[in-house]
Structure formats: C-alpha cells, structure tokens
Amino acid sequence: MQVSNDRVCMSLSPPAHDLVWEDWGDIYTVYQRSSAETHVFNETTAFVLNELLANATTLNRLIDVTMEAMGLKESELVARDLTWAAKRLEELGLIELRSEAALGS
C-alpha cells in the first residue's frame, strides 16, 4: 500500500445490501443478486462486510477491529490480507473505496 490507510474510506455499495447468505460453519456461500455470481467467503471477509453493514469506516480502523475481534496478533499480515480483501470486494462491486490519493497495487 502506497497511501495511509487512514485515508481509505470503505463503505458498502448497494449490491452488498442485496446478498443471500448461507453459513456452512467453515465457509459462507453468498449469492449476489446484482451480478448472478455465487461467492465463497471466509470468516474474515464475512466479518468485514458485517462491520461495514453497521457503518462506513477507514481501512486502519477496520484492521484494528478485525484483529481484536478475531484475536489476531500479526498486524502486518492482517493489514495485507484485509487490503487484498478490500480490493477484491471492490472489484466484485460490494464495497466502495474512497481515497484522496491513488491506491497502490
């Protein structure tokens, strides 16, 4: 990431409010009505979407909350995972990322 995570604001996009969830214990299968796609989400991704359902947040705050909730210690690993998940979710059209500078890849 080339830009401070404080400046990356994340929020759910409209299609994310129109998902059909199924919890299988180890994974979630999710049907996205807007795209007719079926996704397989792990615990982390589900957690992110759930958090954003409550309110928009920044990537940094999301990393903190996730670490606490899932009892994780390696912040750099978490940051990398969440950044990747965020970009992926944005590509799938489920979240919107707003930043003042261009996102690094």
């Binding site: 059909v20 199924e22 299988w24 214990g25 180890d26 994974i27 299968t29 049907y31 009505r33 007719a36 079926t38 397989v40």
Partner: protein, 304 residues
C-alpha cells in the same frame, strides 16, 4: 408401447422417413436416419424404450445423416442435425451411434433450462436417491453402471435433472457410454449386462453403450428425492474409503459441477443449498467395484 413391439423393418422405415419418437425420461425425441447399420443398432439398443405417446409434444427433432461434401467419397462421414441444422463437426460413419448420443446430450444441455442440470450420475432405491457429482474421468459412469446392475434404479449417468418447484430428481435413463477400460471392467463385473458394440478411436477413445435394466426404463416417470451426495474417485489401488464431506465443500463441488448453475441464478443457489442441507455428503475412494458397492449398500441401509 416400446420400440421392440414394432417390427424391425417397420422401425427402419420410420427412421428413414418421418422418424421415430422415443421417450427418454421427460423428453420426447424424434430420431431420423437413413443409415442402415445405425437403424439396426438403434432397434437393438433402444428396444425397451417407450415410444412417445401419440400426439405428444416432441422436444427434440434430431437426425443422423450422411455428411455432404467432398470427403464423403474418401471416407464416409455422418453428421448429427437438430431441427435441420448441423453446427457440429461431422464424424466417421462408424461413429454414428456415439454421434447420436452426444448430440442428444447437446440438445438437453442447451435447451433444458427449465430444470437445474447437475453434472451427476444418480441412482435410486426405496424412494431415496444418491447423486454422484463428478468431473469426467473419475469413474462415475462405471460406478453408476455397476450400481444399476446391483439393485439400484438408474436415474441418470450424466444429467442430474432437478425440478425447481420441489427439488426432486427427474429420471432420464439413457444408454450409458463407457470408455476404454471401463467396458471390460463392466463385462467382468456383470457378464449379462447388455452392452452395445465398441466404437474405436472416437474423440473420447473407445466407447460402448450399456442398455439400462428394463426396470429403470419402465419407471422413468417416477421422480426421486435426493438423500446422499457422494463424490466418487476411482484410484488404481487401495481399499475403499467413504468419508463424510463438509457441507460447504459439497455445495461448492456440486455447484461448480452443474451444467447450468449460473443460468438459474438464485434458484440454483437455493436448490443446491437445500439439497446439500437435506442430504448426507461423502467422498468415496475405491479401486474395486464390489467393495464400493458394498460400502454404499451399508451406508444407505444404515440411514432411515
């Protein structure tokens, strides 16, 4: 009325003219062909199949005819046509029957989107069905053939048709194509199984067709409730293992194995979810058919 109740000459004449309408599960298929050797094969292998009722709506109008063009003089070729069109490559004349069977598969796969089509074999006993979703080459046709000669009714060896309204499996008990070594395996397993001639050097190797037991064909209009999802995998050696599979995994493997999962959108998602939720899911690894069948018998007689 079945095909065999007509005289062979009469069937040949029908095939060469307006065609013969056969009921293959839910589909009424009109077949036409003027190729003599094909008509006698059709008469023999399709003998127990019911003719479509008079006045029935014909779902597919198919034909296997001589291919046109220069090549017919060098090496005779045939082509499969549906509704008078053939967007398909021609085949050597000897492969007319495999061409017919593959062609009917194509018709089903492209036109039956009122149903969810899983890529799966299915068998039924005592009102409950096992589905074997699998990729080609993992032995599901061989296993399926062995099962239907061991007390199970054939639902399908390729297309697991699911009715969206109630999730029931719609039988389509067609000829089962066996490939290469499987042909000999089944001949040894059940010497009295009715197997058609072997077609060599097709694009899928050597192919021969098994005629399902007549009971399976007679009961083609009886749907079945799925009860077990078993993912089979044949291995060259080792004893049989039947292990529970996580339902999440079963969902993913079943959905990715379907012919038209995406087309039915949310309906597919719900149907496969419900099927997995209400079924017991296993992976089956086997090298010996008898062992595999025993394991399946034990599993399915345990559960109520």
């Amino acid at each position: 009325m079945t095909v065999r109740e007509l005289a062979e000459q009469h069937v040949a004449k029908l095939l060469a003219t307006k065609g013969i309408a056969v009921q293959l599960g839910p589909f009424a298929v009109r077949i036409q062909s003027d190729l003599g050797w094909l008509t006698s094969l059709i008469y023999s292998l399709y003998s127990p199949y019911p003719l479509a009722p008079a006045g029935a709506f014909i779902d597919f109008h198919v034909a296997v005819t001589r291919a046109r063009g220069l090549r017919r003089w060098m090496r005779p070729q045939v082509q499969f046509c549906v509704d008078g069109y053939s967007p398909f490559v021609p085949y050597v004349a000897e492969h007319a029957l495999p061409a017919l069977e593959w062609g009917i598969n194509w018709c089903m796969a492209t036109r039956s989107h009122h149903l969810l089509m899983l890529h799966a074999a299915g068998v039924e006993r005592n009102g409950h069905a096992i589905l074997f979703p699998a990729w080609p080459g993992h032995g599901k046709s061989t296993l399926c053939t062995a099962l239907i000669h061991s007390g199970w009714r054939l639902l399908s060896d390729e297309f697991g048709l699911v009715r969206p309204d109630d999730g029931m499996l719609v039988p389509v008990p067609r000829l089962i194509p066996l490939k290469n070594e499987s042909i000999e395996v089944i001949r040894r397993f059940r010497p009295d199984a009715r197997i058609g001639p072997s077609f060599l050097k097709t694009r899928k190797g050597t192919v021969a067709h098994v005629q399902p037991p007549e009971d399976s064909i007679r009961r083609a209009q009886e749907p079945a409730q799925p009860r077990w999802l078993i993912f089979p995998r044949w291995v060259p050696s080792g004893s049989v293992t039947l292990e529970p599979l996580s339902k999440g995994q079963a969902f993913v493997m079943t959905a990715t194995n379907a012919f038209n999962y995406e087309v039915l959108g949310e309906t597919s998602f719900r149907l496969v979810t419900e099927m997995v939720r209400s079924s017991d899911c296993y992976t089956l690894r086997y090298s010996d058919l008898d062992q595999a069948i025993d394991a399946i018998d034990r599993l399915t007689s345990l559960s109520p």
